[in-house]
Symmetry: C2
Subunit: 241 residues, 2 copies
DNA sequence: GACGGCAATTTGGAGCTCCAACTTTGGGAG
DNA sequence: CTCCCAAAGTTGGAGCTCCAAATTGCCGTC
């Protein structure tokens, strides 16, 4: 962001922008190492780094002897492999419809959009929202915390059954709803999370950001947090750079 | 794998193994660049590359002025952002329980485990399996193909309702089932997929591998394939190396 | 017009070096 | 015993170079 960024990141940002906005279409050649050094007035090392990062992001492919090209469809980086333990709720929610022994604590309230949430829902800052907080429990033990935000205009009637939220309501009334998994990361829990999830000290959490869309309109964005001692990293997939 | 691999990948593989099997516990220091060059008899460039790759995989952190350390909990690489378009089925299956306008073609058959599937289910090769193939349609149009494999011993009674498979059955009978998303990737479709999904030429597919576990026993592994023209890459998250 | 082979170009591995910024450690002064 | 500073070590950016393997385009020959 800052102008004091490493030069190779400046090159990465420049080329990435061109790929995303389409000025560099699929299969278009990326300037070679030699051309980049001249064009941006940098050394070969920086040019190389830039190409390596773009390739690692899956936006370009290097073909030895030929050059680097924009990928027709960006390669998706493999996920780390993780699993939820036996007593936790799978994301796939297959259990929900089957009367599993899971319980939900739900609390909805009216709030104003923060900058982050406003951005994710394509709303103006401090727009009115319905904020719903689910704590999912198994055998009384909290296994998952989810906080979702919906534009207030959608919050008409709240159905009795906790897991049936806005998305289920929308889709049962014929609206096609789609889902984006935006980010998965592992991080240190916030104080409130330590409290509600009854976390021992030093336990990290898995954080998943999701957004549900009705057409091209985001209608709900949710943050799902699962304690690290309630999931387990099985295997880390090698990144082949 | 081969002994003709680049040397830096050999170092990566060696250190990764030590982290995964625990001989390098969380927060343990990784040998410095200088130490690695001596230990493995390589140049600084190779040592550097190895550390960079391990850091990009999220297994270690570099602290400038101090050293590289094993991460207490590996950092998960952010997903690319993608979305399914309006007419496709979301993975989250929230729609399933709500009477959505989706239909399933299902065909189950008895097969023998291939090497790949046997590995994923922790079975011997050519073990008997139930192979189930779902084609998910919306308005008659195929939007998703899922092929799942279950050990044959589990295939007692097949319920009438297609989406209620083994997993739903197990969990309704009190068994806690967990899910691992193993891999997400974009690739060229296979001929059979082109056929069943009615794919135009040149369209890639999004491929998701999942495994469901009952305790520490894998009970189902599935490959979900979605045509690229039925999902859309919204944004590619920068990898900060 | 077809073909074969050579030369230029390109990636990717690997080596070396210099330097700024930062952490850690140990020793000496007070 | 405490405090502070200086030296040593470490990461990460950046530069340069050499080379093997692969691709591509061109030129001359048949």
């Amino acid at each position: 962001m800052a102008s004091s960024d490493p030069v190779y990141l400046r090159v990465v940002a420049d080329i990435r922008r061109q790929i995303v906005d389409g000025s560099l279409p699929p299969d278009a050649p990326i300037p070679s190492r030699a051309q980049l050094t001249r064009k941006y007035n940098i050394g070969e090392t920086a040019a190389r780094h830039a190409l390596r990062v773009l390739a690692a992001e899956g936006l370009i492919v290097g073909r030895v002897g030929s050059g680097h090209y924009v990928r027709a469809r960006p390669a998706l980086t493999p996920l780390h492999r993780w699993r939820l333990p036996d007593h936790a709720a799978p994301f796939g929610a297959d259990l929900r419809s089957q009367g599993s022994p899971l319980t939900w604590d739900r609390r909805a309230e009216q709030v104003e959009a923060t900058a982050d949430i406003a951005h994710r829902l394509h709303l103006a800052e401090s727009a009115p929202l319905t904020r719903t907080r689910y704590v999912v429990r198994s055998d009384g033990r909290p296994v998952q915390l989810a906080v979702s935000h919906e534009p207030a205009e959608f919050a008409e009637t709240i159905p009795e059954d906790p897991p049936r939220g806005l998305i289920a309501r929308l889709s049962s009334s014929g609206v096609k709803v789609t889902e984006i998994v935006e980010q998965v990361s592992s991080r240190v829990p916030e104080p409130a999370e330590i409290d509600t999830l009854a976390l021992p000290a030093g336990v990290h959490v898995l954080h998943v950001e999701r957004t549900h869309w009705a057409g091209d309109r985001p209608v709900e964005t949710s943050d799902i947090v699962i304690p690290a001692d309630r999931f387990r990293l099985v295997y880390s997939h090698p990144l082949h750079p």
